[in-house]
Symmetry: C2
Subunit: 452 residues, 2 copies
């Protein structure tokens, strides 16, 4: 039997994993410094928790888990024959793999509302699964890194999350990313101005979301099919440039409370990060930023790299209604997500992994048999306690073979105890980079200064 990992999944070898772990460490350090606390939720959730939250297309991408044991006998063959496949699936599956971390958070906050305090500032770094068609750079299992605040709405949360984005990315070495912001209230007002009301607002936002990918003309044509009255000139004035000013929008649209609110938030956030609080990366208002997900209601955010093959490195926004789906009313939420795989790809391409994070062997212990190793073991133990990564050569082989193993694996020091050293209770330390050997008595050995 010669088997591989499943298509759409990925094995991580030590070197690649150590890069990913480095990024996760930077994330965690920043999350904690900003006052967020880590939680974890199960990979498997009840179907009722998962289904109906991601739209029809999303629901189809939830991995469903078969009921175990005798329960499989309850398969509803009638539904199957009538081609009611959802009914069939529900008869044999009552749970599924988590599709994102936001819906489980909403479930968690509702369930544990009496055990946590609000505002609840949590982060979560866990796998999610999506039955997408596997393709390059797109996996069915991947890690999400989410930071959310659940509680009363307050603009300091928007500000803190933008500050956190900048802090994480500048710690990782990114200096010229763009943190784009927009506001769903502004987009709604623009939609209304062009004659898109009620449920059509969602369609308008979805079409705006595509401008960056398929061009402004295509989006215009698509909108004009729904409402032929839409003014091409004004539409292009608003959406052609990356840097349309708030003033331009204000001059076009009639004022409303909703619009005013969106403008105020964008302006206050922009003002906060001017002068002494300038970010390392750029912060830009971008009217074309729409974010696909339905549940956003306020400020939306996305981080993009220029000239990048991977697109967005993260995104998020405020969602006022999501938690109330789980019967916990009157709390708002805001969250951002970090795209770990994409961040790693981008760092690789930009050469930002400038150190080798791979925990390598520092010292190789030459193996001339257990009778020698038994004498050396107290030293080995001390070296490990002191923080060195120490490996014992696999078997009692010729010295040359063991030394060339050290060379091949780029191990800087070897420690030798053979017959001669055994006699006078000493060791030989060889620096494999420069070939220098020293003999040291084991008694009162101060190993702190024998490696340098």
């Amino acid at each position: 039997m010669k088997l591989s990992n499943l298509k759409g999944t990925k094995d991580f070898l030590p070197e690649e994993l150590s890069k990913r772990n480095y990024v996760v460490d930077v994330l965690k350090r920043n999350f904690t410094a900003y006052g967020f606390q880590e939680i974890s939720t199960p990979s498997i959730e009840n179907s009722e928790t998962l289904m109906g939250k991601y739209g029809d297309d999303g629901d189809k991408l939830v991995f469903r888990i078969l009921n175990s044991g005798e329960k499989i006998k309850k398969a509803d063959l009638e539904s199957f024959k009538k081609k009611k496949f959802n009914g069939f699936i529900n008869s044999i599956s009552s749970k599924g793999l988590r599709y994102d971390l936001t819906v489980p958070l909403a479930r968690f906050v509702s369930q544990h509302q009496n055990e946590i305090s609000f505002p609840f500032k949590r982060f979560q770094i866990q796998n999610v699964w999506r039955a997408d068609r596997p393709q390059k750079g797109r996996f069915q299992e991947f890690i999400q890194c989410d930071v959310d605040v659940i509680g009363k709405k307050s603009l300091i949360q928007e500000i803190e999350l933008i500050g956190l984005y900048d802090s994480v990315f500048s710690d990782l070495g990114f200096k010229d990313l763009t943190i784009k912001i927009n506001h769903r209230s502004i987009l709604t007002s623009v939609a209304n101005y062009f004659g898109f009301h009620g449920k059509l607002v969602k369609d308008f936002i979805t079409i705006i979301d595509k401008i960056d990918k398929s061009g402004i003309s295509n989006s215009y044509d698509e909108l004009a099919k729904i409402n032929s009255d839409i003014s091409k000139k004004i539409f292009f004035d608003l959406f052609e440039s990356n840097l349309v000013k708030l003033e331009t929008i204000k001059s076009v649209l009639q004022n409303s409370e909703e619009l005013e609110n969106g403008f105020n938030e964008i302006e206050q956030v922009s003002q906060f990060f001017s002068k002494q609080n300038k970010l390392t990366n750029k912060l830009n208002f971008d009217l074309k930023l729409a974010r696909g997900l339905n549940y956003y209601t306020g400020l939306i955010i996305e981080v993009v790299a220029q000239d990048s093959s991977v697109g967005s490195l993260g995104g998020g926004g405020r969602y006022d209604e999501l938690v109330s789906l789980f019967n916990f009313k009157n709390v708002s939420g805001i969250g951002i997500s970090f795209g770990l795989e994409r961040i790693c790809i981008e760092m690789d391409e930009k050469g930002l992994f400038n150190k080798d994070f791979h925990a390598k062997t520092d010292i190789l212990i030459i193996n001339f048999g257990l009778q020698y190793l038994i004498q050396l073991y107290p030293l080995i133990k001390s070296l490990r306690k002191y923080g060195y990564n120490v490996n014992i050569y696999q078997e009692n082989n010729k010295l040359n073979k063991q030394l060339s193993y050290a060379n091949h694996h780029n191990i800087k020091y070897v420690i030798i105890m053979g017959e001669n050293e055994m006699k006078d209770n000493s060791i030989t330390i060889k620096n494999m980079r420069n070939g220098v050997q020293q003999n040291k008595k084991l008694m009162n050995l101060d190993f702190k200064d024998i490696f340098n």
Copy 2:
């Protein structure tokens, strides 16, 4: 909708998770110091990889994942009607959730044999899933922490893994655990002596495995049902005491190469950890130690706490044949596992979490509105960079309310900038433990010495 997490799974709130993370950190630090490198494998594996490795009972506990989209239409209703449920399941599911980390390791090593070097010393800390009936302390999703060496067989590996167990547990504060060892060769010889040969050896080992739970008399009776010739006196001589000596066994059994080999390994290991290499915890040979899993072939290990509600804290052993199941011949394997949940329960009961690992807020920033926070933000940023966990109070509330929030959440310092401080560009730092307030100019503020 008011929903809970699935039965058999667990939400981790910040405090409990921080304990678990602390234990994982100790594990990782030790694994790395002993020369092991981390890998990760996908949660989902092909059914062919998973099935047939854990015995019939194990196979039933593998969570199977439904094929997505159109593939559900291939459901084999004929098999279902004929009550051939496995055929039915295989027609709608071609993958499942990982049941342990050892089988995926064997698959990984076979698949990536040209990208890794041998001996391959890896560790892996990931979730596994088992469709066990949920009960107290037994979950359907839990973390396994596994350390394995794949490559040529060498007794230094057995020694290193025992040393690693002791090092990890003594770092965690355990001083009186027992690391039990036994050898499958010795158990096989004993089985042969009592007339259990061939496939019956497995039954013998399974029954021995139950002595500690259900008593020696029950095990004797069960064996006597299979072979009535078994001598009760000799059986009790061998298995009644926890500390039967190797000499006793030798005096009973006829010598054989297999037995000799088992004795030698046990003796060399025991000798290694005598005198200067004495372990912090106890190392005991225990003939009753059997380990349930079929794939062990050599030395077996288990770590047990005395007077404990949780039983074994970890176990492992040498397995010679497992990797060859994946068509990669002539390599042996040896591995140990750490039972993370049980270790945490045991540490809680013994009070070994003597520190509070929960990353709490160090400093609360009083919020009198954005116009003040905008002035304070450079300081906030510096404090976070310096390692403090800093939280900004949610909203512009009365000072008393904000101070009592700090008290309630046990936050030691608050930083205040109100109108007065704004005027002379200063801050007030209040130590909530002793009530001492200091006013400091922001210019050239050296925050390194304002907290102590």
